[in-house]
């Protein structure tokens, strides 16, 4: 496990490009909006939670899309499948290290973006927390999609279609929580729900990913 995690992280740092894409992307989406809209502050403030969350969702999906691609192409995916480690464990490790390199930056950047859209500072905590829970769940979902589509010649478009239906609830609740916090209400209820999603994801996704990887390799 550790060996795998360290390998993944090392690779990530070797190609800052691939890794920072999601963060890039996140910043991009959130900054482009004020540019696209005529930026009245109060308008920005109302849409901030939605924008930030949508941006995060997109960023994660974009990041996950190629999660297993290079491993598949250079043949190291088969080697991982053949390794004595239980595949679901491999999967969760892979996702976690990838999230550390791609998802975490997004979460870290979120407050900054929040400030840009003058999102109330006292609610930042909720923003970060919700993203922390949400992005990881999304990474897990994305990983399932990526694993299912990596073997396909038709390419990766399917992936968003497959993942989105499951990702939307996370988005809705996440944005909801952030909005609540912004209006000074107590978001803990929704946050618990997000946490529940995460737990569900962590327990089920690894097996789905493992199965999907097997199928993709066999095709």
């Amino acid at each position: 496990m550790l060996a795998l995690a360290s390998r993944d992280l090392r690779i990530s740092f070797r190609q800052p490009g691939e890794v920072l894409t999601p963060a890039m992307f996140f910043v991009l989406v959130t900054t482009l909006f004020p540019l696209g809209l005529s930026p009245q502050p109060e308008l920005l403030r109302t849409i901030a939670p939605g924008v930030v969350w949508v941006a995060a969702l997109l960023a994660v999906l974009v990041g996950q899309e190629s999660l297993f691609k290079s491993d598949y192409e250079d043949g190291s995916l088969e080697q991982l499948v053949l390794s004595p480690m239980p595949l679901p464990l491999v999967a969760i490790t892979r996702v976690t290290s990838h999230w550390l390199a791609t998802g975490l930056p997004v979460v870290v950047l979120a407050p900054l973006m929040g400030l840009l859209m003058d999102y109330p500072t006292q609610a930042m905590g909720c923003l970060v927390l919700s993203l922390l829970l949400g992005t990881f769940t999304l990474s897990l979902l994305g990983a399932v999609g990526a694993a299912l589509t990596v073997g396909l010649r038709q390419g990766s478009m399917l992936m968003p279609i497959l993942v989105l239906p499951l990702a939307v609830p996370v988005l809705i609740f996440g944005a909801h929580a952030v909005a609540q916090a912004a209006n000074g209400e107590d978001p803990s209820g929704v946050l618990y729900l997000l946490a529940a999603f995460l737990v569900l994801g962590i327990t089920l996704a690894p097996f789905a990913i493992a199965a999907a990887v097997r199928v993709s390799l066999e095709s």
């Binding site: 070797r14 088969e78 066999e218």
Partner: protein, 204 residues
Amino acid sequence: MTLEARSLGLWRVERCLCRDLSFRLGSGEILQFAGPNGSGKTSLMRAVAGVGRLDEGELFWEGNPATRSDGYRTDLLYLGHQTGLKSHLSATENYLFYQSIAGYSSEIGAKEALGRCGVTEPADRPVATLSMGQRRRAALARLLGVKAKLWLLDEPLTSLDTEGVGLVSQLLKSHVKGGGMAILATHQLLPGIEAQRLELGGKA
């Protein structure tokens, strides 16, 4: 320690690559999949390794079904068309990684193993900067780093120079002398290796 295949069958959409194919491999033996291009060597190799789809038949490792025994995966080392090297990591890093996730790893260090495979100077450069032959050699180094009973080598000689070919056959020799077994798929002949050949059907 034996690998036994009972009436294997492989299908690609409509096309039957092989069916009702059985073989038995004991320790110290080498089996070579032979056949023209497109006869199904790679597919069969992958199926035997457990990464490809096996449509019919079953594999037995030391008597019990390979699919359900983790022992099989720890005893097996598969080296395919794709070398499984990460192009961003150096040959050394790749070697150490595979050694660390292997079932049983040998004590041979990266420097020695890569050196014996003729990857000295480029050992610490990203694999992406290596030449084809150097990559192949870096991949072959795994054979030294991992203690696997069964080697599955699909065209191990690709883009190796004559000296590299010698290296492979010498590795194979010592492997079988140590009681290991191996399955090969190659079109070039390996000097001084006698293997039982399994002819696969002609090209459609």
